[in-house]
């Protein structure tokens, strides 16, 4: 088979980016065999580890080991002073892989990165949900109008097929409702509170285990869940909404007493995300703590496990569960999108 080259520019090289790089190295030969593409990384942009550019392909093995050993890139020949936007605008690549940190209130600068890549005729994969939550319909239109690929499976539930599930396996079915449990921090806190743990204890344990970020307000107040349900609804139901339009309530006011009262009713409290079309045809989204019966599937979704339920006109409701993902599952989401780029 003739083997073509596909050049990737990686924006962000944190845990997920590094896991993706490892997967790329591991599967390099298999990708050539199955898809006929020699995939190389020609640029890596980071905030704190330096930036690399190399038209012939960066030595990922060295990049990873340098980060392990020194905390930054040491490949002097390929280190560049160019910043992220300059790399997006000028580097030689075919596919932009957007994995920069999320700004949940604007989706920037990821949106600008993607717009710039599109303006240069590049395909885009984003693991950053900001662009899909804040500007999906415009970005998607630009991609379609210019015959470019734009994939974002990782933005909700890592590599678990959610967008691809509908697109690739529920053909011609029309999505009428989407719901789910999509934030593991709140899920973990509610679960531990129900077990009788103290709030402060849960937070410090969660931080130690890596479930809870230093600034947990984005999770606890429901902003993260709101961005995810917005992304789902924009893609699956053409909702054309932004996260600030979500009827959002976090778990900040849930007390141990609330949980005990729910327990007496045979229920547990979960932070549920929902989206349905109202009678005017507009999609209405909400994120709210709600009681669910203990024997309901939703009650079994614990800690980092998450679920999306998708209702369509032709297949009623189908739910998909991701069980206790690790960083490799995030990397697989990006990897799956890359295979989609290579196969279409």
């Amino acid at each position: 088979m003739e083997c073509k080259t596909k050049k990737l520019a990686l924006l962000g090289f944190g845990n997920a980016g590094q896991a993706f790089a490892k997967l790329l190295m591991e599967k390099h030969e298999e990708i050539i065999e199955k898809y006929g593409f020699d995939v190389v990384v020609t640029a890596v942009a980071t905030n704190s580890k330096g930036n690399l550019v190399c038209e012939d392909g960066i030595d990922l093995h060295k990049a990873l080991s340098d980060i392990d050993e020194f905390g930054r890139f040491m490949d002097e020949k390929n280190i560049t002073e160019a910043d992220t936007m300059k790399i997006v605008s000028e580097a030689d690549y075919d596919v932009l892989v957007e994995m920069t940190p999320l700004n949940i209130f604007t989706g920037q600068p990821a949106i600008s990165h993607i717009e710039t890549a599109f303006s240069r005729g590049k395909d885009v994969i984003t693991a950053n949900k900001g662009p899909v939550a804040w500007k999906f319909s415009q970005l998607n239109k630009t991609a379609r109008d210019n015959n470019l690929k734009f994939y974002y499976e990782t933005t909700v539930m890592d590599g678990t097929p959610v967008f691809n599930l509908v697109d690739k396996t529920l053909m011609m079915a029309k999505v009428t409702e989407v719901s789910g449990i999509l934030n593991s921090t709140t899920n973990f806190i509610l679960e531990e509170l129900a077990k009788g743990a103290e709030y402060e204890d849960i937070m410090s344990r969660g931080r130690r285990m890596g479930f809870i970020e230093a600034d947990s307000a984005m999770d606890i107040e429901g902003y993260d869940a709101a961005a995810k349900i917005t992304a789902l609804l924009n893609v699956l139901m053409d909702a054309d909404i932004t996260p600030d339009m979500v009827d959002r309530k976090g778990i900040e006011d849930i007390t141990v007493e609330d949980i005990k009262a729910a327990d007496k009713r045979g229920n547990v409290i979960k932070l549920l995300c929902k989206g349905v079309r109202d009678e005017k045809g507009n999609v209405k989204a909400s994120v709210k703590p709600e009681e669910v019966p203990k024997n309901h599937m939703l009650a079994s979704i614990d800690s980092t496990t998450s679920v999306v339920s998708i209702t369509t006109d032709l297949m009623k409701t189908v739910s998909i569960i991701e069980h206790e993902p690790e960083i490799e599952q995030t990397a697989y989401g990006v990897f799956g999108d890359l295979l989609r780029v290579l196969s279409e």
Copy 2:
């Protein structure tokens, strides 16, 4: 768009076949628009309603209303004395849609229908799990060798993507384990027993509600579940096994006392299907009643709801749940396979 004709031969025209015919009529124009094919049914073979053949396309509306009114086809011009195998061998069609009743112990005559269609260079969709459980690897090889399409999504969990989930959305991931709850009759019986209902009562109620067939032994003794896990493992793990190789135990010996004892341990009893590769590389399948904790996802899978959990090397475990399907969801499985035939 140029519009080509795609001719279907339907074997079997029971509830699922009729629902599929309705869906075909409803979506006829949309299929032309999206896929560029005018889909017509040129043959229908049944056991008790007569057989129809018409090269220009059978009037499905009349076929359905005749069955409603008279219980059999009345379209004199197109009624044929040819039997099912003669239709498979001689009728003019592009895609065979195999929906005849299952023989769970042999997979016949469905296997012969499919082999004959392949020998004539026809694509095949089967909703009958017999062929996938009893002869998948040979049938699949024949299809591949002759560049023919062979799809079977409906054979497990109706139109819920299971085979397509792996094939279309978990690219390059290798399936290492499959498990699930796949038989609604046993699921319903165990659930009702746990609620304190009497066995005889459950059976008569189940029969009235249509959950339980007149001859329920195939379900209760685990044969149906064994055929389903075999089909899953043959396709997803290249198991090359037959249903008689499944370590099978039904729920026939489960007593109310067993259920009460499990309840005291905080568990419920479910009929679980499983398949894993042993140390020699062979896939071992089992169907057995097992205890699962009440707060486990599996415990929440009630009555006609079913679940498959798929573990892969790259995505850990992903579960997909079909919630309380009706006959339209079976029809959608066949319909989805048809769209796949049209789109590839």
